[in-house]
Every structure is written in C-alpha cells, then in structure tokens.
Subunit: 646 residues, 3 copies
C-alpha cells in the first residue's frame, strides 16, 4: 500500500525542503501532492509563468524516490486575475459576489476563468509531462463544495432548461408552476434561487434542476481540465479530491471521466460511548469505492486535530492514525495521503493539524505514521486486491438532492438511512458496496435501496428484475415518493415499488424526535423514530409490527416473495439493534454466510486478489476487544487493525 502526504513547498523556506524530503524518504512516504493552491506563485502576473520553484521541489522529491501528484491551481485564482476580471468571482446565495480570502473564489462557468485556467493547466501539463515522478494530477480542490448564483451560471441554466424542456409550457407543467401563480411567460423570468439553495420555501422541482445543472457544470469543468491535461499527456492519471460524503454528492458522476476516485477522509477523533451514536467512516469509504467500483485513493487523511473555522477537535487517540488509514485499506484504498506533512504556521488553516506540529518536532502522531509506513510496505501483496461483496446499497444522488431540499422530519437524514442499513451488515463481518442507483447489480445477492425518494424508472425495472431472478431487495420508508421532477407520485406508497414489496402504506406518521416501538414476530421489541409508515400487506408477510401509537399491531416491516427472490420493506427508522435484527433475517433468507457475535464496532472486511484473501479486522473503539473468530482468539487494541491472510 502506498502512503503519501500533502506538502506545500511554497509555505516553507527552501532549506527545509531538503530535510523534509529526506525524512519522508526515510519514513517511507512514496508520494506527495503539490501545488493545488499555488497559482499566485506559478503565474505571479498575467502570462508570466514561473515554475522554477515547483521544478526544484519536484526534482527534490524525485531524488528521494517520491512521486508527485500535481494539483491544478484553479481553486484559488491569484488576486491580479480577480482584479482584472471580477466576473471570475462566484456569487453567493444572497446575490452578492463572494469576497476573496477564503479560497474557492472561482465560478466554473466564467469565460475568463476558463481562459486563464485553461492556459495555466496547459502550461503545467506541457511542462511536467517530462518529469517522470509526476505520476498523477488532481483537478482543483473539493469541487463539489460550491454552487454559484451568478448571471453567467443563470444564463447557462436557462439554456440547460431550454434543452431539457423545449418549451415553457413543458417546463411549467413539469414544475407545477401553476402553484402560487409561478408560471413563466418568458425564459428571462427564470432567475437563480437567491435566499439559499437550501430554502424549503422554493419549488422543489425548480430546485432539483438547479442542483442537477450545477453538478453538470462541475462535471463539464472537470472534463475541460482533464481534456487539456490529456492533450499533453494522453495516459495521465487524473483525479480530484471529493469531500462531504455526509452532504451526499454525486461521486459516481464526479469521477466518471477520471481515472481514480479520491476522497478527503476525516473520521472523527471524538468518540462517544453511546452505541446508538458511535460513528464510523466505513460507509463513506464504501461509497467512494463504489463511485468507480474499484479501489480508490485517500487524498487527505486525518493527521491531527482539525480546527480553524470550527473549534479545534480532540487529538486523534493513540492508534487512530494507523487504524483509520488501515480502515481505508480495508475498504479498498491503495493510496492514502495524509493532510498534511506539516501543520501550517500561517494562514487561516493553521489549526488544522498535520502529522508534524507547528514546532516542526515530530511527535507521537508522526511516529505512529512512521510505523504505518513500515507496516504498509508489508502489505505489498495485498495492493491491488479488491473487495467483493454480495451486498449492494444503492445511493441516489437525486434523492440526496431532494432530501436536502425538503428535509422531511426534524433530524431525518438521507445519509443516515444509508448508514443505518450499512452498519447492520457490517455487524456481521460482511463486505458491502455502496453504489450508484444506476450501477449494474447483477452480481449481488442482496440489494438495499434505503429511502429511494426520487424515482428513476430504470431503477424500478432493475430492482424488479433483480428480485424476480432470485435476489433479495430491501427498501425502506420514503421510497417511491417522488417522480423524476421531484413531484409526488399519485399512488399509494411505495408507489412504483408496491408490486415489488407486496405491501402498501395506508398512511404515515412523521414522528420526528418522538419514539415509537416495533415488535418482531419472535417478541423482540425495538425503538423507532423519525418516521412510521403504517403498512398493509398485499402479498407480503409481516416481519415486525408497531407496538405503540394508534397503529399498534399494524405491520412495520414486511417480507414478500417476488419471482424467486425476496423483498423486504422497512417502514420506519429504527435503532441500530433494530436494523441488526432485520438484517439477520435478510441474510438468513438470502442464504448468505456471515459472522455472528462480533463485539460492537469491530469491523471486518475481506480483500481478495493476487491469490490472497486478506481479512481486515478493525477495532473502531477505545476499548480492548477479545473475541473468537473462526475458532481463533482475536485480541485487538483500540483502533488496531489485524490483517489475516487466508
């Protein structure tokens, strides 16, 4: 496995580079990311390019046997450029131009940005294609974090709508614009959703299109950059660093034209002892792997306590540096790059800690990192091996958008629905894929699609066929609610999935922060929250019923036969224990082997390839864990990962 670091030569005196590069080499660092915020140094004034410093850094790393990922510096245009062409600056949801100083001050769609970005990317590609240790490229930085509300974007949005709907009549119909007399009489009446793209007061059909188009523009910007690089370096390895898994973006699209998916991975250093609220980043890792359905990179890995705009968090406890990186290996990362080698001593990000503290003196975290580097070398045989899973969880970017726009009940979250189901399978030591709803699911035994809110008919068809041919499908509350325009479907829920699950929702109770109870047929009871679909079975059987509220006795979870497959419908949001209970039944009915009796928050995944099957056993807690696995006693320190080759 390859370990790397993010490094900013422009932040440090040149005489430190030498010792840094040497120490990296000794420690076992194999790759560094450079230059993604360095535009002002690479092009200090209009058309004057100066790559001398970067050359020196790249060569120094080459001399130390370290590869380089070069960032395109488009996230932070230099001040001279913004001064010359203010249209480059994006506009916020209040209609005001964003100030410079906080990074990300660029509108993807601005002509001038494209012109200047294109020029410098071309220069960089042309120049660095001849540096053999420049082995990969990162485009911009955390591209999915921003949406622009400027006029240029709005004009582009109107064109996008014209292409999509053809006529205003069609658009007005699709949006239900008659509500509140909102029908457009001319295309020019269409403006950006000032007041916030999160606002719950705006038409959800209009809003989802606004977000879809913004995503497409981001993809176009990615393609624009990648094309330039490829025109100089045809087989360049190109990626970009995604973040915000918890914002549920469209990773599959984002990486579709790129060579590898990369993720900024910041698991929490603040752990709770409350089982219901213990967090794991494992679902996010499976989601990033799912983006391209292959192994991925971590482009920024937790190195120290985050902080700056938010208060500083706790320091990673002993074991976390190694444990979280190996957890990433366990889920298919082959390259893990730490953010960052040194903690910045300057700038607004100076309390986002790197491996080495402000002092420059390596400490506990660094030495743990150094151990990781050594141990990673011993995993060479596993490099490139992959996770195979019988279980897929479908993630729908459109549902993510729609839930963000209309948050249902207080506390309801799409990503939590995904994670709840994911965690339950993890409890049984199984690999799980989280993949786009349009991915091919033919190889799986179980496919879960929690809260598949916005409907795509192809997904509906796919799930039906999957069940018919013997697969197990798991759906949950808030599935089939919306059509492709983000309007409500006029059928009893789960609408298009009713035939599949053999039950329907007679009504629902959005219980929010209240609690209700469900009881399985064996008498076991569990709390549930947020949402209660009150079910009536058509052809399904009841797995669990409500034990409280006026619908006590009504089905809450059902199972149905569909062709030679089975389909489950989970009509509520339960505790972790409830999902574990249900998933055991799902596994049993699907005939999958699984591990029982794992201690809480011990995660097991399996990578296979190169003739090796390696089991990763991760103790994601602050406690020592002892247990038996396949007849062997396992002992794990906090955050320890044991890798067992079989």
């Amino acid at each position: 496995m390859r370990i790397g670091v993010d490094y900013y030569p422009e932040h440090w005196d040149k005489d430190m580079w030498q010792s840094d590069a040497r120490l990296m080499n000794q420690t076992g660092v194999k790759i560094v990311r450079l230059a993604e915020f360095a535009w002002c140094r690479l092009e200090p004034s209009d058309g004057l390019f100066d790559f001398g410093l970067l050359d020196e850094a790249v060569r120094l790393f080459a001399d130390n046997g370290i590869d380089v990922i070069l960032g395109t510096p488009t996230n932070c245009p230099p001040r001279w450029l913004c001064e010359k062409h203010p249209s480059i600056l994006p506009v916020g949801d209040n209609g005001k131009t964003n100030p410079i100083g906080i990074r990300a001050h660029r509108c993807y769609n601005d002509t001038k940005l494209r012109e200047y970005a294109g020029r410098i990317i071309a220069r960089l590609a042309e120049h660095y294609r001849d540096f053999p240790n420049v082995t990969a490229w990162q485009l911009d930085n955390e591209l999915e974090a921003n949406i622009c509300f400027c006029d240029t974007c709005n004009k582009k949005h109107r064109e996008w709508l014209k292409r999509k709907y053809g006529t205003l009549e069609a658009l007005n119909k699709a949006y239900g614009n008659v509500v509140w007399s909102g029908e457009y009489q001319s295309w020019e009446q269409i403006g950006p959703p000032y007041g916030g793209y999160n606002t719950t007061w705006l038409n959800p059909a209009y809003m989802i299109d606004f977000e879809r188009r913004a995503t497409e523009d981001m993809l176009e910007f990615i393609q624009f950059q990648a094309d330039i690089i490829r025109s100089y370096i045809p087989n360049a390895i190109i990626t970009t660093n995604a973040c915000f898994c918890n914002h549920t973006s469209d990773f599959t699209a984002m990486f579709s034209e790129l060579d590898v998916a990369a993720y900024d991975n910041y698991p929490t250093a603040c752990l709770t002892s409350d089982y219901e609220n213990i967090t794991s980043t494992s679902a996010f890792l499976d989601m990033v792997r799912g983006a391209k359905r292959k192994n991925f990179w971590i482009m920024e890995e937790l190195s120290g306590m985050p902080g700056c705009w938010a208060p500083m968090q706790r320091t990673p406890a002993p074991g976390m540096i190694k444990g979280y990186a190996k957890q990433a290996f366990a889920h298919g990362a082959d390259t893990v790059i730490f953010f960052r080698w040194r903690t910045a001593n300057i700038g607004a990000e100076m309390h986002w800690h790197g491996l080495i503290d402000h002092s420059g003196v390596p400490g506990r975290r660094f030495y743990e990192f150094a151990e990781l580097c050594k141990e990673a070398e011993e995993l060479k045989d596993i490099q490139g091996s992959e996770l195979h899973s019988d279980i897929a969880i479908l993630y729908s970017p459109d549902s993510g958008r729609a839930f963000r726009l209309q948050p249902q009940t207080d506390g309801f979250s799409y990503i939590e629905q995904i994670k709840a189901v994911h965690q339950a399978f993890v409890r049984y030591g199984l690999n799980v894929d989280i993949i786009d709803e349009h991915a091919d699911i033919s190889g799986y035994k179980i496919v879960c699609a929690p809260a598949l809110y916005v409907t795509d008919n192809s997904t509906v068809k796919m799930l039906h066929e999957f069940a018919e041919s013997g697969g197990t499908v798991v759906l949950t509350a808030r599935s089939g609610v919306k059509d492709e325009n983000n309007n409500c479907i006029m059928e009893q829920l789960p609408t298009v999935y009713r035939g599949l699950v053999g039950c329907h929702v007679t009504e629902y109770d959005p219980i929010g922060r209240d609690k209700a109870k469900v009881r399985f047929t064996d008498g076991k009871e569990y709390d549930c929250k947020q949402w209660c679909d009150i079910l009536e079975t058509d052809t399904a059987e009841t797995v669990a019923s409500y034990e409280s509220e006026f619908y006590a006795g009504k089905p809450a979870i059902t199972v149905n036969s569909c062709g030679s497959g089975k389909t489950f419908y989970i009509g509520t949001v339960g505790t972790r224990r409830m999902y574990e209970k249900a998933v055991k039944q799902i596994l049993d009915i699907s005939g999958l082997a699984y591990t029982e009796g794992l201690p809480e928050n011990v995660e097991i995944t399996t990578r296979t390839g190169n003739g090796i099957t390696a089991r990763f056993i991760f103790n994601n807690t602050t406690l020592k864990r002892s247990f038996e696995l396949d007849g062997k006693a396992i002992q794990l320190d906090p955050f320890e990962v044991k890798i067992i080759r079989m």
Copy 2:
C-alpha cells in the same frame, strides 16, 4: 353546520374534477374555496382574461350542489406583471426586494398593483355575480402576514405621520427623539426600519407607528378590494382568511368592514402530557369569534400533517379531524373548510397534507372527515346559535405590537398572558369571549384585561365604569406601562389603573426563566415565573403573597372594591394551577355559576339559539375521560366532542 374544502382545480387534470366533485357531494361537502392563487391562469397575459376553466369548475360544483367561495388572486401576481412593473414586489426588512417564488410578492400600496388588482377583481365580480353558487368572496390570503419596507410605503408613512402629528416638533416630542440625538429636522429623514421591524434597538414609539400604519394600509387594501366587489354585487358576502393568532394581530380591524371573520385553524397534532404545556386552540377560536362578536368561519382547517418550510409534524391522531372541527363549532364556527381536499403533488407546499394523501386514495383521515360531514348535518338545529358569555377577555392590538417590539423577559409572551387567563375560565366549563379592548363590555359580569401594556384612555374609563357599576375587573402585571405613544407613563404601576385595583407596584423583578413562589391566604402554594410585581395595597386586600425572594410576604395578587364591583390584580405569571385557583375566587366573588371537577383539558362551551341550548363537551387529550356532569355520567374518547341539547 357547513363543511367545506379548499380546492385547486388548476392543480389537477380536468378529468379528476368530475370524480372529486361527485365524491365531495356524496361525502357531504357543501362549499369549496377556489382560485385565490390562480391569477396566472385567470389573466395569462396583460389584459387577456380567461375565466373558462374557472367557469367550468364553478358550474361543476353547482351541478353537485356545492357553493363556491371565490378568492381574489392578489396574493400572487403573475410573473409577466412583476416583470413589467417590478415596483409591485415588496421590499424586505433588509431593504432588498423580495424575490418571486414564495407567494405574497405584492406591496399593498403600489399603484400598479392597485391598478391590475382592481381590474381583475372587477372582472371577476362582474362575471361571477351571475353564478348563483358563488356565494362568498375571500380577499387575497393571510393579509396580515407581511409588512413591506419599500419606498412607496415609506412615502405613505411620512404622509401618515404628517397627518397624525402635524409638525416635526410634535413628532419629535411624541417619539422622544431627543434620545441619542434622533430628532428629525426634515420629514425626508424618516426612513423605514431596515434591519428588522422586530429589532429591539429601535425607538419603540417610532416602531409602533410603523406597525400601526402598516395595519391601516392593509385595511385600506381590504376596503379597496371589497368596494370593487360590492360595486358589482352589493350584498356580496366578503371575508378574508386570517392566520397567526399567535402573532397577535388586529383581527377586529381586519374584519371590521367585512361580512364575516374567517380563520386558518391549525391546532397542533403533537400533544404533550405535561399539563403546563398542553395547548388548546380554544383561545384563538374565541378571539376570532370576538373579532366581529358573531359566529365565524374556519377557512383552512387542519386536514393532515403540516410541513414544508418546517419539518413535517405528526399525523393528526384518530379523533382529531372530527374533534378539532367540532371544537371550532363549539366556539362559534358555523362553516369549517378544510385545507385541503387533496394534498398537493407539486409546489413547495406539497408536504402540507390535505384530507386525501398524495396517492389520491382516501384514508383514515378522509373517512373521519366523511363522518364529520354526516354528523355536521345532524347539527342543523344548532347552526346560527351563538355563544353568550359573562366573561370577556380584552385583547389590545397595540399591546400586542408593543410586546413584540420590546419582549420584556426571556420567554414572556402577550398571547400567553391572554391564554393563561382564558384557560383558567375554561377549566370551569364557561364560555369566554376574547374581544377588542374597544368593544362594548356592558353585558359582561367579568372583564379581564391581561397585560394591558399600551394605554388607551377610553379603555381606562370603560373599565372604571364597568367596575363601578358592579362588574368584576381582572388586571395583571404589565398593565398601564405605556402611554399611547408607547412611552412609559410616569406614575407608579399600574399607573392609570391604580385607583381601579387599589394597589400599586413598589418595584418589580423580571425573573424570566427563574421560578418564585406565591401563597394564597388558605396556604396553597404555586410556582410563578417571568415577572413579579411587588405590590403594596392602597385599598385592596391581599389574595396571595410571595413566598420566596426578598419580597416574601409582599402581596402578589389582590382584590379591591370599586363602586359595587370588584377588581383583581394578578402581579405575576403563574402556573395553570395558580390561575385556576385565582379564577375560582374571581368567579365566587362575582357570583357566577360554574362547573367544578372537570377532568384536565376537557372543554365545555354552550351555544344557544333557535330555542335550543347545546352543550359541547370536548376531550382535548389522548386519554379516555369519564366524569359526572350535572349528575350524568359522561364518557369521552380522545378528542371526542359530545353535544348535549338541553
């Protein structure tokens, strides 16, 4: 009693209208409200009127024996109109023009709005006067919800001030503008209170006038619309739908020139078991009845779980659909119109649930509604009968404004003061009127005026005379604080009411969220909160004293003789139990009959007329209730209303 629904033909395919109308007819729906947001369809472009669709709908309802309330569509001007005359759009408290898309995008005072609104209203009135089933009109929608900060309004405000004060000297004096050197030297210096009409940093005298003038402009807009309709249909029944009782608006003024008061009634579906915090909408209903002191309509009644801009709330429990509607009957509603027949499948309001869910399949709530329709038919004999009360609670719009502008302590609320006193009388099974402070009180035995903060001399005189002639008056803390300009009166509290209540406030302790204790002369103790007036009696006797704080032993509640009447002063804000204790004493001293021993949250009111006296007994809880009333055993299911004719 008449049951209706709000219906949006423009949202649905025409072929659904037929079945909807037929089902309404079968169910017992007698009236529908139409078209209040349909301007873009009624006038799709400037001067092109197209009432064809609406005609069809109105006729269809006629064919099904259903009357129509027609809405004037002025809440939502069409986009072509806003594009042509952007001055129509209101300005927010930040000085920026409100965007279209969230409804209510119209400034009442804009000339162009008046021109176009006037034209379409005239056309509608001219046209629909010939449709016999169009029996009533609703003006705009929830008119009191918005205040505009535009230049047109500001100019009008300056003219209003000139008329009111004549000279700048008088204005500066009335406002105390010398504070912080705020004196105006020219009328042009007067601007709108950008930064929020809620700001506590601005001069309260200036602010209350701003709100008063805005209310007057709303009244003018109401009059403007009503005049047009009446010019075509002299005896039209005209109303508008008020909302926001909890924002304490000026309902009496709002409906003064209209034929009937109408209210949008959304009792909560989320009930607490904490007695102190159980809510009832009964005070709001009494307040709406008080607006015109006659029976009223519910224009929008809770039909399902609200949601959209706020998270979705819980579904109405079984019994609530019927119970809350009958509670409205119990308080004087003769027409209850549910919002809405169908849940919208489009637009930002799609999670504000109607009687029929998105599915179009009638469910539990619909069937309960259908039962209600049947049961309402059996109440024909009660239709038109009225509530007569010996008890009035005065509501002061100016005090409402003033408390909103200067919120006293954390958690203090004017409407809660009103409701606390109201609830206490409700506990004894009595009818209560909530009426404007300027209403005629001669018929009552008890008049309560909680927190009569802003002083109107005519009210002072009226209360004195009322007590003199044998009535019982109840005042509470924060009475007589302000003069008519919203400045503090320079006398010991309760200033102008001191003679009336025979005691005065030596000092006060704004205890806010802290708790203190009061003790009645019989030794019973109760918690109090928010505010403690430390009293000294002049001629009054002590009813209860403080039992805590440095003023332990000082009077907290007093009773005084005034002429042949009695006056109570409640110097603190207590628990429900405290008010119940005090009110019992008030009732006893006033010689009113009342019912004791009612279970908590069982509400009894009495309607009389047509030779019938009908008692409405409402169980506003989730529990079954059994008790004896006048020697008869009563059993009530949750939210059940029993109507006993006597």
Copy 3:
C-alpha cells in the same frame, strides 16, 4: 468617596430639574455626567449652537453643589449632519452603511465627522471652561465598541500597512499570503474583511492588523478630541467610558493619554449557586485600575435591571446597589457614577433601569443608593488611598484580539483564563493587579501571564529577568503560540518560554467540553477541561499530572527554578478548586502571606494611604457569611461590605 449619577436634562421637562437637583443634593450626589448624546440640541442646525439649556442645567447643579462631567456628543451626530454628509455614517461588516437610530453612527476617520466634531468640541470647551463646576470631560461613549468597514477606513488601513511593512513583499511574507494564493500584487487589492471581523475563515495575520489599526484610529480620535479640549482648558480632567471588559479591549492604550480611566460597571443581578459559575466583576475592576495603574472612576454603575435589546434581567437584590459600588471602592474606584438617576421613559433604552423607576417615585433601590451616599461620606479618609499588590496578572491586548479571531476550542475564552487565575488569588484575600503586558513589573513578587498567546519579545525578556531576580512567574497553556504577526512559532510550546518554565509540550489535546482529570503530588484530584498540554519536564518538577486520557501520568502542572525565582506552568484549564490548589503552592513557594479559610466568594482587598490601611471585606453571595478573620468574628449580610481600618 464620590458618588454621582448620569443625568439627561434633555429628556425631562425643565420643572423636574429643580426637584431632581435638590434631591440629589439632599441624597449626597456630588457629580453628574451630562450631554454625551445631546448634539441635536446643542447644535440644532449647521453652525447654530444653542447651549442655553445645558447652561441652565450646569448652573442648577452648581447651585446644588454638584459637579459636572461634560460629555462630548460625538457618539450621535444629528440627522441634519448625516443627511448633509453621509460619509459620516460607519459601514458594517456586511459592507452596508449602518442606519441611524441605534447610536454610535459615526466613523472615527471620516473627514467631515472630524470637522464637525472638532467644531462643537471647541465651542463646548471654550464655553464651559468658565463654569467652575464643570470639572471633567468624557469623550464620546464606549468608543471601543465599534469597528468601521468603510472605504475611508480602508484607505487609512492601506496607508498604515505601507508604513508598517514598506513593501508588498514584506507584507505578503508577514501574512503568509501565499496560502490559498492570497498574495497581493498591488496595495489596491487590500480591502476590509467583509463578512465579519470575527470570521474564522480569514487570515489571522491580516485580521489582527485590521484590529490593531482600528484601535490606533480610536486612540487617534481620542487624542484629537482631548487636544481640542486641552487647547482651551490646559489642565482639564479628561476621560472616556470603557465597557466590555469581557470583550477584552486595550484599556491601557485607550486611557494612555487621558487623565483617569473610567468604566461602565454592570455586575450581574442574576446569581447562580453553582460555585464553578459564580461570577464576580472583581477581575474587571482590577483590570480597569491596571489601565493607568491608579485609582479609577466608574462612569456607569448598575442601578437597576438592565434590558432592552436583550430581555430584562432580574432586579438587583437588596444589598447589591451598595455592595457592588463598595466593591468598586474596594478595588480602587474613588468616584462611582450610577447609570442613571432616572429610568428613561422614552427611547429604545427605556428598560435599562436607573435608580428611580419610570414612576418617578424613589423606591428600594434608590433608598439603598441614598444610604450608600451617606456611607461614602464616611469614607473620606480612604479617598485617594491605593491598592498595593505583590501579584500581577498580565493582560495582552494582542492575545485578546488573536483569541477572538481564532477561538481555539468550543468554550475557550481568554478572559476566562485571566479570571480563573485572578479568582484563585482572591480566595486568599489578596490584592491583585491586572496590568498590560508591557507594564513595569519590577515591584511584584508574583507575575502571572495566562495564555500569553501572541508573543512580544520584550515581554519574554521581562519575564525572564523577573524570574532570574527572584520573582515567581506563572504561565499557562496557549502561551508563546504566536509570533508578533499572529503566525505560529516553529518551536515546541511554550516556545520562547520553554527555558523559563523548564518544560515543553510534546503534544496537546483540545478537549473542549469534555472533562479530564489532574492529580497533585499529594493525591488531590481535580477536573480539567478545554485544553490539555501534555508536558515533558526539562528542568522543572511536576506539580500535578493527568489522571485520565492516554496521557495519564504525564505532567500537567510544573514548577521550575530560574535564577533565584520560580516559574510555574499550568498546562490545562481547571476548575476553580484546581486553581486554588495550585495558587496556594505558588504563594507558599513565593513566601507571601495570605488568608486561609475564607468562605466562598468573600472577597478581601486592602487600600492604604493617608496613614490608613483599610480592609474591604465583600460578601459576593446571597447568603449570610460568618467567619473569623485575624481572630475577629466577621458577620456579613448578602452583598455587605465591611470596611475595617487597621
């Protein structure tokens, strides 16, 4: 001691002045502050000055033997002036001009403001130099409360930066502008930090300079005003009223060119019984005394419940009016002026209560004030006597700024670090000085410098020399973090202080709202929070170690020998008890005498001078306190201050 009141003749009818002045005289009021918001009356139109009313008031007070502090009215320019020269209005952090109406509507740097302010101050000085009872001047009002973001300020800021850094290269280097490509290519690119000077997203080096320059501009404005007054009245006593101790401003600079420091003192009237959270204003008083290291004035003293923009607070409990004023005496105030004589009946501040309520009827608080006046007369012998302390706490304005800009962990506060150490010394009945970090410390035995975050080399040197020569130095976590540019120093913490304290921080854990434990060598354990420096001793010895977390056993508090002195390092933020424990050890090692066994929140200070040593014993609680002091039984009522001459 001198007692005064703030009075606003312009708010009241003239016929009230007479009785007010007479009552003041009878009560014992010796001084009033006048006119600081009265510009619109003093210059009702451009160039037309009318001091008639003020003359009358000043003469009336003279007749009653009462001195006058005259306020320059620059805080509130009249409307005609703002209308004529809108550039006078300051700009908020959102880039928008602040509206008039909330006071403080003036930019210090505006040319027109300077012109008009200069003119009226000159007129006032020229006029009132002949009034013998006008004995002092207050400049503007709470000057440190506002920062302006206008273009004028920005231009001045650029000039300031040019002077400070000379070249853009130097500026870019000092700011680390290369981060996020933020390097300036021209001075014109430098703009104000729109979006809030509190934002944590902006470069901290840029931000600290913005705040430093704004402070300097305030000082310049102070100097500008003082110079004018002094040109007419060479030996005028000039001050201004500072507020916001808890915002930690630069009081030493603010008062450097003024004759006396003055403070607006609003101790809370809401007391908790939770020992950890009981507040005392004693640290603020010591800080104000430290500003000029001499006795000071209270310009506004708590007179009643505050309220208005915030909800009203509780009324001062019996004893507080006297107790808090005497607490101010106890800490070196010789003049205490109450805000305000009468509660305003007009304007936005009408619920910020004065001594006399809206009624105009003197009440409990007034009578307590009257007693205070009498008792103050009996303290004439103490007037002018001073506090001498062996203990100094250093306060760093730059650290204050830097912590405000980058708040470390959730809940971490610089002023709380100062207060925690201060309170611990107070527990032992000792005088404590809080002084600027650049003050002369040669006379002290113990110097504490909690959280000395931003480094000034002269302070470093001074502390070293102090310890070398036998003093005791106490440092805490977050010392030596930043260099003078607010960038992080690249050495192990506490960097420049490592040699002094003989230990270093191997790493830290920002535990925030979590709790950890420390254990002293005698086995006593205490909770700590917010921050844990994990220490390694160089030459120091361990005083306390952590007892929890992965660093259990590592030193948390150390003591070192340095020359003939001792240095303590407290690496965490503890409970009050923890600081008390540590401070006892510090006192013992320093050989200072102290009092043990004082009840909680009994504060003792000692003033000496005129041959008298007076001990002030203040019971800052709601409970009676009995204890023995130097063999004498002491009994204190709540908030009572006993003064014992020795």
